[in-house]
Symmetry: C2
Subunit: 578 residues, 2 copies
Amino acid sequence: MLEYRPPEQDFEFLLFELFKVQEQWADIPAFADISEDITRAVLSEGGRMAAEVMAPLNQSGDEEGCTWLDGEVSTPPGFKAAYDEIAGGGWLGLSGNPDYEGQGMPKLLGCLLEEMFWGANSSLYLYGTLTTGASICIDNHGTEQQKATYLPKLYSGQWSGAMGLTESHAGTDLGIIRSRAVPAADGGYRISGTKIFITSGEHDLTENVVHLVLAKLPDAPAGSKGISLFIVPKFLVDEQGKVGERNGVVSGSLEHKMGIRGSATSVMNFDEAQGFIIGEPNRGLACMFTMMNYERLSVGLQGLGAGELAYQQAVRYARERLQGRSPTGPKNPDRDADSLLVHPDVRRMLLTIRALTEGGRAFAMFVGMQLDLGKYTGDEQAARFSELLTPIAKAFLSDRGFECAVMAQQVFGGHGYIREWGVEQIVRDTRIAQIYEGTNGVQALDLVGRKVLRDGGATLQELFDGFDLSTIDTCYREPLEKAFAGVIAATEHIVSRSAVDPALAGAISTDYLELVGYTLYGWFWARMARVAGEDAYGCAKQDCARFYFARLLPKVLGLEASVISESACVMALADEAF
Amino acid sequence: MLEYRPPEQDFEFLLFELFKVQEQWADIPAFADISEDITRAVLSEGGRMAAEVMAPLNQSGDEEGCTWLDGEVSTPPGFKAAYDEIAGGGWLGLSGNPDYEGQGMPKLLGCLLEEMFWGANSSLYLYGTLTTGASICIDNHGTEQQKATYLPKLYSGQWSGAMGLTESHAGTDLGIIRSRAVPAADGGYRISGTKIFITSGEHDLTENVVHLVLAKLPDAPAGSKGISLFIVPKFLVDEQGKVGERNGVVSGSLEHKMGIRGSATSVMNFDEAQGFIIGEPNRGLACMFTMMNYERLSVGLQGLGAGELAYQQAVRYARERLQGRSPTGPKNPDRDADSLLVHPDVRRMLLTIRALTEGGRAFAMFVGMQLDLGKYTGDEQAARFSELLTPIAKAFLSDRGFECAVMAQQVFGGHGYIREWGVEQIVRDTRIAQIYEGTNGVQALDLVGRKVLRDGGATLQELFDGFDLSTIDTCYREPLEKAFAGVIAATEHIVSRSAVDPALAGAISTDYLELVGYTLYGWFWARMARVAGEDAYGCAKQDCARFYFARLLPKVLGLEASVISESACVMALADEAF
């Protein structure tokens, strides 16, 4: 019963009215040929793929799950045909390097496509997103030969990608991994070790799986400065790019997960597998980080897609379900009851989901735009903005996505708790987005520790200085001005106090990330309200903006008060007293 | 891997130091004989039951689930033996009427036992809590003969209870149910209809199931004033109280649920089943409401138990898991990494769970105390307080319980998402507490519409007037005074504006409930800090109180701002624009 409809009208509004992408792209040589018609055609065909190919397999994929037999993994029925169609449509190489048969589309546009794919079927799309991640890594750090060998096959979907980072004792702390890479006589390496939680590590969708694996060289320094990155293909590749001999990498078992059950998550055993180093020795983590900005934004988009999917289900249910009467008198007097839409508290939930989803979409596109500007125009400020905003995009979008899924489930009442309607699946599937690709707590630490403290809050200040309050309606100016001031005051507090209170950053990082997140959404809502027209769609935007400012932005008051504290209240409790 | 340990030290602190129950109970004749030793013995034996009998079946119950075959339902392996042990220990009649072999224990004490049973195994305890609910209803509204027939068997656990309210089209809105009750020549009724989501509707734990079923008499007025309540036993009972002929009630199927999978939730088909009216015709909903205060508090306690269970797992994991280094330098220099406990953001999560759980426990006991005072001393004010606080207890405790479960899962990182550790099960199991027994949105409406608006906020004002700020430490007085003032201002806003803005109550009810909830927890934390001693346990209480005031109480700022709004921002969006 999970149905997915591409939110085309909102996409068009954001692209052509809020961000005016045609004007922007005209100034970027790589994008100058992307006309409005092409943009629409890409979105429309991507939307069809999401709604007609991917979404129908979402619930069945969860029910059927993946199966493991002697190291071989079968994906749920229908996944192979759907994957072939996605791959055949060129969707996996959308933002890929055109020199290697990628399509070189803007990330800003890619955001919308990714959001749809995630929303339609997160388990199925995971096979694609890991492939994209591997491509980005190889494109940025691979040798010419590695790029030529792997990129076209990854972009075409003929091969898929997987990232081997986590070990059972080492998740966030990759510095302590134990996987080993021993130089071999042939100039390559032999990789041994066990990796866990490997998304798409083994499956039956493609003829090869390209593992990017973190391991330590024999002479590696301890900790995170002694990690190298290797390409380890499931099947070795000959000089013509043909797959040959099976490599020493095999799935030991599948993880039994809360959700994304159509996604095959393996324990992967590497036993003297042939590996090819990518980038410099001991610089593997840095290579990973190149890819991270894209992947983290993508996981944020998973939350966004989940919010949209959840919203659509909840609205459909609220419209059809007759229960109780409006507080202002019957609206449906010929029937036993009015629809759920008459109930203010149900509207509150629907509007919350919508305000967070549409606000989040504008924010995500803004981040995508910074990535594009940084990459294609060398705009150094945009590059810094994208660095600053990436952890917020990953954590805030996925946290809000989960919140939206839970809220949509609540609209269904008891019907939301049973599997039939599928909304409980959205909750289970979305939960992982807060955890993988760096937990949201780690994102918050990255924001405060790496991004804000490192330059004393200068980039953040620049970002907010760029938001011109004269370009929004007067009714939103004062609350937003206060919110901006709150962010700046919180930032100054952190910067000035961290020197004497080293635990402070970690103690308040999560609340700080939320403070910035809600404030940024406020900016985008105010801008959307200003740009929206007078038609029904524009009026709806205005109404949602009012709701956001009245009911959601006030959260910044509590967050600001919470951030302006010392770490003592967090650190005081003795370890043994927990 | 889910382990449960009774939080005995906190129980003792709350009972004997914060609430000084021995002094209170000495003044209540029904409780005068309950010595401190008896209280400790009851808690200790209940704790043993929870930890040793119930908890070991929590994960296996989820894995195995219930099975349905031709109308018969099998519970997971081990449930029957455990249920027999719970029943044999007299735990199902703990707060029952002593005239019918109940044990007449205070609800305040029952709260702690229920919290443990819920925490140890919510699926298993559901068979008990429905039995308690049915007992309360029969005790309050049944005839002498009905009480004599059913209560001893329910208290002993020989029979179990089930509540038949929901139909597929009628959940919150019970006024539109379609089940029919037709008077029969024998003076009884014949009940026909289909009920869904019936917890413990059919199972293999007891020799009989006593259904309390809402249905409409042929001449019933429309809506909620035309609903009557009936006892419909699975097996008819003869005059000696022996079970005989099978009645016309059968399980049509089991619901496939997100969680509480060890609890059998049936579609129940009633086909001219013999029913016996309880209470007056057309007054069935009122009978149900008597029970509701107890059951709603119980569902709140489910959230509380989940919070405690989640906390224990997360602390255990955080202690054992070595990952990363402390921001103030290595704490465990001999090993590769420090424990998670050194990380401020992990501590923030653990302290949040603990502050919400221990604050919630004090609050729940306070509500239990009001129920006791109202019932056993005729204290009219306490009775009103219990009415006012019940929806808060149900919604706020279960919302926070879910939040705590999700947060504990986050502490586990990726390991929290796989089934092995059991923490994802806590999330799935706890989610239902926000939905059943009246969704939390309905609780918020009950609070604002029925409890606050009905007396213009007078009872709420009385409650807060009774909290004497001179009995807390000075450092907490100002923030709490402000929070109290915020609650009163919000209440006045709602009372004064609702006359002209009929949708207002529903538009702000959820935020209002949270505002009151966080403020009440603030009161109990301040009181606990004042009463706590200087030992390690007392110092931990002080630390948690500081954390609560620094990091959680500030949420009231945003909530207060959100409540002080009009309904327009919620009601403006046109139905078709959703």
